[in-house]
Amino acid sequence: MTTKFISIEGIAKRYPASSGNGATTIFEDLWLSMPSGEFGCIIGHSGCGKTTVLNILAGLDEPSEGTVIVDGQAISGTSLDRAVIFQSHALLPWLTVMGNIAYAVSSKWRKWDKAKVRAHAQTYIDKVGLTGSEHKRPSELSGGMKQRVGIARALSITPKIMLMDEPFSALDALTRGTLQDEVRRVTLETGQTTFMITHDVDEAMYLADKIFLMTNGPGAVLAEIVENPLPRDRSRIDLHKHPHYYALRNHIIDFLVTRSKTFTAATPHHDPRHVPVVRPAFPEAPTMPSLHSATR
């Protein structure tokens, strides 16, 4: 196995139960690791704890048990090495596009003068195709443009790890497609390790090297790690022409539709430390899927 760049070691999250004493366990004994430069997607039904895992990884939330180790060190709190792209873009509405990105840049390089910060921010504005919109405020931007600013802000601090919480779920299909292309290009270019939450099976198949399948909560577990059998130089347009495409897609959808509910009961000896890794391939299921990518 490759070295673990990110290693989530036996984390649990519990909230005090709303009905008096005791606690609700969202998940426990969760183990997950990723080598450097890998793109991981986590898929699971609403409420199973995906955002919680991502927030713990970001340092925004603390696990009730367990630790997260990044690059050989247990994390404590947030870090400029781990950038987050928020689902709701979370731009500061009183700052312009330039202001929002420059705020991140000047937070990372505090000694830089204004000109240097702006020049650096400008390169990332150009990178996400927002040249000419530098002086607009978030309220003057479309949803896709706002999310681009969020992406540029995260990229501009050149983090080692990118954490994305359903970054494209609020966008129309066309904009989503373009942004997926951009994210894939940038992550391949920079070699960043990326961890992303999505509800979109096709998105996961296009972007991810590994897809983590989570069962339904409460008491959610990481059921399976799916390795992406599609070639690394895949393109979004003819993804579905690949022989392994339907095998992979059906496997994931089958999990989401049926196995995510029954997994815990059906697999009593599931070892959370050694989650099975599967690699769906052509002969498995050549049939057309009956469901489209929406899994909510």
Partner: protein, 279 residues
Amino acid sequence: MIQSLRFRAAVVSIAIFLAFIGVWHLATRQTLSVGTMSPEYAKLMGLTATSGKSAMPGPLDVGAKLWEHLKRPFYDNGPNDKGLGIQLAYSIGRVGLGYLIAVIVAIPLGFLIGMSPLMNKALDPFIQVLKPISPLAWMPLALYTIKDSSLSAIFVIFICSVWPMLLNTAFGVAAVRKEWINVARTLEVGTFRRAFTVILPAAAPTILTGMRISIGIAWLVIVAAEMLVGGTGIGYFVWNEWNNLSITNVIIAILLIGIVGMLLDQILARFTRMVTFPE
């Protein structure tokens, strides 16, 4: 369409104004019959009664007097006879000073309360008890301890404007969107820088709304406070002119109090708009 609505509203406003002036004019022109009045009352009312004219001045009297005041707003003929400009300046000065001190106290304290749940809980009982006290109830205590009537008036302004600002600041700071705070956290922004670069701009509209409520209350209270402490100011002017039985001057003062109050409110409204950004 908008333009025409605005135009029509202006026409209606002017019509209402003219109707009001007309009714006022007619109502005050009507003469009382001197004969039916008891001789003592007639003597008391002086010229008003003997010439058969209403004690209530008409719009023309008020207009003429107002013109007189506007021509010489800043004359000073001793303690009981100063121009309206001077009196207003005194009042605005007191309000400004008391309000400024309130801003200096309320905003940092509001930040503390908003950012620290401990301080929020610890200070809450004091605020709950102090807030509903009428600012004028502080006056005797202020006069006794400060021993200066003008400073006491400033203190009363301070105490009445501090609460809305304090509560709004605390609320605005506590209600800053979690994701904006999270942005600052992921960027490892320190507490101090975070307070100025994220919390302050995010809470600014709420803080300024509190400041706008405060300036309104302060302007309401200054008139009453100056009536009590006397000496100078528009409140004292009203009281003094009432003692002189110059209803004309009282009406002019009322009008000016309204206009200045409106201007103060508009200034704060403008500031509020300047710091409000839609998402």
